[in-house]
């Protein structure tokens, strides 16, 4: 069974984060378009794999969303967390720290964190921090 939830960042309290009693696709009050910082994320669980798709700018102000989605897929018992960077326009060390926390949690289960749709600049930042050796990077590196 696949569950797909969207949580928007609009500065409001993160109601709906991690709630399981709501139907597919209905968590949160807004999508990516209504966020002042232009950040949001979606997540779903495919068997033992949690898939998190990031959108917009993931920084110190908006990283709570990523943490919430990580907590959510971990609560579903996944052993692998896949994070897509295809729609990310900016990320900073807060995002990287959240991914490191996710990795620590999932490695305890014998799993891993996979990053996908990484562009050339994102790969450069991962290399500068040495995190390219920590995460599995899946697929082709995009030019931009």
């Amino acid at each position: 069974m696949t569950r797909d939830d969207r949580i928007g960042t609009n500065g409001a309290a993160p109601t709906g984060v991690g709630s399981n009693g709501v139907g597919p696709g209905s968590v949160g009050s807004s999508g990516a378009g209504s966020s002042g910082a232009g950040a949001s994320a979606t997540s779903r669980v495919d068997g033992s794999r949690g898939v998190i798709v990031l959108h917009g700018e993931i920084d110190h102000a908006s990283v709570g969303e990523l943490d919430a989605h990580v907590a959510k897929v971990l609560a579903a018992g996944v052993t692998e967390v896949a994070v897509s960077f295809g729609s990310v326009t900016f990320f900073d060390s807060a995002c990287l720290a959240a991914l490191v926390r996710a990795r620590e949690a999932v490695v305890e289960r014998g799993g891993r964190v996979v990053l996908s749709d990484v562009n050339r600049y994102a790969l450069r930042i991962l290399e500068l921090t040495g995190l390219d050796a920590v995460f599995a990077i899946e697929g082709q590196v995009r030019a931009s």
Partner: protein
Amino acid sequence: MRRGDGRPGTATDSGRAATNGHGDGGHTAVTNGRAWRTDPVTRVELRLDAAVENLPLLRLVAGDLAMRRDHDLDTISDVQMAVDEAAAALLEVIVGSDTLCCRFEAAPDAVRVSLEAWSAAPAGPDQDSLGWRLLTALVDVVRVSVTAAAGGGHRVCVEFTRTPAGSEAP
């Protein structure tokens, strides 16, 4: 994405050099009867709430200034990330302050950023953090100062300079 120089500035007396208020003798050039500012350095100063919600604003300003001075895309991205990390590190450490003062200076050969806030605590940013390691890898020079403020407390300042060839790009 690059933009050329010669963006229109505030009109001044045509044909005469005009001061730009920074003591380094700004210049204007006249084309088609209009004065165009040709200063080699663009300066912006912002005073804003000391909150991480303002990081996108700082990135926007830093990126725009670097773009105006025709820096390459990696330099623009690096300056945006550097100002984000420097400000986040400063916001993390200041105590009892609600205002952040930011000065940006963009020249063709370098972008300089200074971030300053008052703090009740005499402590600078955590230089062992992931964000700080990223900051120092992205720019040429980072300086931190913690000095006594007039009237009590401390001024905590983080400054950095980034030149086009200044990153540790692999």
